[in-house]
């Protein structure tokens, strides 16, 4: 927290927050943590046919240190859980997480000894996308929901 914490509740503060949030929601740099078949739908969404760049989220970063949106795409096993946690912790604030598909959201039909029953048992999640796998339209819908959520974030929550 820096200087902006003094501006909470003031006119300047709320205008600044609006401007920051507007900039952030249209420049989401994503880190795709792709582990399973949902990855194909993610690729489909990211490529020109559905064109995620229309929403300002076109650049996947392959280092979590350069990303601010973590897409967890697919099944996460208990063996992989520490890796996911570490990736999340390497991301700089402000950061958001999307659980992509049934497996990332709840474990899906892998209700068994080796699968994490939803990534929200490891890291905080902002938006869940249901579906096995979800259609690209659902992904874009989730992205727009995340943008609305980012626009509403108050100044004091922003690091």
């Amino acid at each position: 927290m820096g200087l902006e914490s003094n501006l909470t509740g003031t006119f300047v503060g709320s205008r600044l927050s609006d401007a920051l949030n507007w900039a952030r929601k249209y420049s989401l740099f994503q880190y795709p943590f792709v582990t399973a078949c949902c990855g194909m739908e993610f690729m489909s969404t990211a490529c020109s046919h559905y064109d995620i760049s229309r929403f300002g989220a076109e650049i996947p970063r392959f280092s979590p240190r350069q990303a601010d949106l973590l897409f967890v795409v697919g099944t996460v096993s208990h063996k992989l859980a520490p890796v996911l946690r570490k990736v999340y912790e390497q991301m700089c604030d402000p950061k958001w997480v999307v659980a992509f598909g049934a497996c990332a959201s709840s474990g899906g039909f892998y209700d068994n000894y080796c699968t994490v029953q939803g990534i929200d048992t490891i890291i905080p999640v902002d938006v869940y996308i249901p579906g096995c796998p979800p259609r690209p339209e659902q992904v874009l819908d989730a992205l727009m929901m995340l943008q609305e959520k980012i626009q509403r974030e108050p100044l004091e929550k922003q690091a």
Partner: protein, 163 residues
Amino acid sequence: MSKKCVERLQAHFADQILSTHDAAGDETVVLKRDKLLDVLKFLRDEADLAFNLPVDLTVVDWYRIREPRFEVVYHLYSYRTKQRIRLKVPVDEDDARVPSSYSIWPGFDWYEREAYDLYGVVFDGHPNLKRILMWEGFEGHPLRKDYPINKRQPITTLLGEKS
């Protein structure tokens, strides 16, 4: 065709064979554990058998259905004669171990580790018999039928940290 393989085995290892059967032409030989390596070596080295491809190795758990509880299953294929054969070796729960076939087909290395990891059958003589799929510190063998279906063993420490 592979009937001949079974006959060859019967001629050489009559005392090792518990039973034979076939399903849709796929021959199965149920074997004792005692001279398993000799039988496997015979299947690989005889010119008219030449089973040089280790196709699959797995375990069946007959928990509360059949005794002995476990059955180690070998699937073999011969590139030379284009034949397949299936071998089954029943083992008891108290003494769930078979000799490792690593020295005959190194390709069975990871299969044996997987069978050990998920079923707890020990392969004597394997050079590196440790878990292959589950993580270090995992308790039990998850594909055994008496492994609790709701049991979860999450890893609570981060990578690189020692608990």
